[in-house]
């Protein structure tokens, strides 16, 4: 049986890719952010996940505005990164897990989530930077199933919808017969705004509120509309939708085991969280 071992949420700012390439781990600007991954590395070494389901948003690499799915699930054997046009190094390809992908696709559609199915899918920095942060300088020891959420073109799916998408993914993983240790990743955020005269907007109070509530009261966050989220978290802070989906997929007893929050990285309030998930049945048996 598949086990959902936990979730990791992290910022995916493109300039992190450059900082990694230039090995700026000790640089005073970067170290408060990179240090937040020491715990993550220990956790991953201990927990040894086989597969990561990654909720992220594409920024115009795989999808353009001509055809833009609200939710898209990868079903590829291999996911390639390519030139994104803003000067970050192209990352190595990442292995997929088509069996798990198709299991999730079948389960999600049966559960009335009308997702787009992608047998070919380029993954952008919103996948590759979290991978490089979690496994720096390594050949990535994990397979992935990327799930893309539209955070670019309004109307966006609601916080509630993304939480429920995650819950459907979690139920599907719980029912998967493969003997896998699955981790869930949500990337992007927290508060930031790149465009308009409000560029540079940061809201530490709202970010802290989101990080507090997402652990065991994620439904409280569902009461915010997308308009509220843009207002409180900034135009690109809506990437928090990926965090909500990640949280939804943690179907058991959830404990926060790590949090790092640092402002700023580039224009963004940078945040990293690790949430452990313990299956309810397993807990009763223990």
């Amino acid at each position: 049986m598949a086990a959902i071992i936990g979730g990791i949420a992290t910022t995916h700012v493109p300039s992190i890719g450059k900082a990694i390439a230039e090995r700026k781990y000790q640089n005073p600007y970067w170290s408060p952010f990179f240090k937040g991954f020491d715990y993550v590395h220990d956790w991953l070494a201990r927990e040894k996940p086989d597969v990561a389901v990654i909720f992220y948003n594409d920024h115009g690499l795989n999808f353009f505005l001509d055809k833009l799915p609200t939710f898209a699930v990868g079903a590829a054997k291999l996911y390639r990164n390519e030139d994104e046009g803003w000067g970050i190094p192209v990352a190595s390809s990442i292995a997929g897990d088509p069996d798990l992908s198709w299991h999730l696709i079948n389960a999600l559609v049966a559960d009335e989530f009308d997702i787009t199915i992608c047998q070919e899918m380029l993954v952008d920095h919103a996948v590759t930077i979290p991978m490089a942060l979690m496994w720096p300088g390594e050949k990535w020891p994990i397979r992935i199933v990327p799930v893309s959420i539209n955070t670019v073109q309004h109307p966006l799916p609601s916080l509630k919808r993304c939480l429920n998408l995650g819950r459907a993914v979690g139920r599907a993983i719980d029912a998967y017969t493969g003997n896998l240790r699955v981790m869930i990743v949500g990337t992007g955020g927290l508060s930031h705004q790149l465009d308009g005269t409000r560029a540079g907007f940061i809201n530490t109070k709202f970010d802290q509120f989101c990080m507090d509530k997402i652990v065991n009261e994620p439904d409280v966050l569902s009461r915010f509309s997308i308009h509220d989220l843009v207002e409180e978290a900034g135009a690109q802070g809506v990437e928090f939708l990926n965090w909500m989906a990640m949280r939804g997929a943690l179907t058991g007893r959830v404990t926060e085991v790590h949090r790092n929050y640092h402002v700023p990285i580039s224009n963004t309030a940078a945040a990293t969280m690790v949430l452990e998930n313990r299956a309810l049945a397993q807990r009763e048996a223990a």
Binding site: H59, G85, W86, T204, H227, E231, H262, V263, N267
Partner: protein
Amino acid sequence: MQQDIPGTTMFDGAQAQKGFALNRMCFSFNNAENRAAFLRDEDAYCRNFGLTDEQRAAVKSRSVLRMIEAGGNIYYLAKLAGIFGLNVQDIGAQQTHMTVENFKAKLAAAGR
């Protein structure tokens, strides 16, 4: 009716329709040869993508606020900005009429 959020343009259906040609051109900048072609002959490149007069003037002015006004989406505009060696902090400073140094200082202050 929802209140507008000051300094913020929702990239909605109206903006997406308005900005399609401009965003499509910026999408092409994922390719290094296309970036070089733009630098070689900007007028011809913009013409090929059918930019409106407003979009062409906005690109020519290098003003990100004008490009947003013309329907540009910031993730796509960032690919154009990258051609000129500008990152999101540079364009943040430009849009808020600050020096890059002051814009960075404002962000740092937000964390204290």
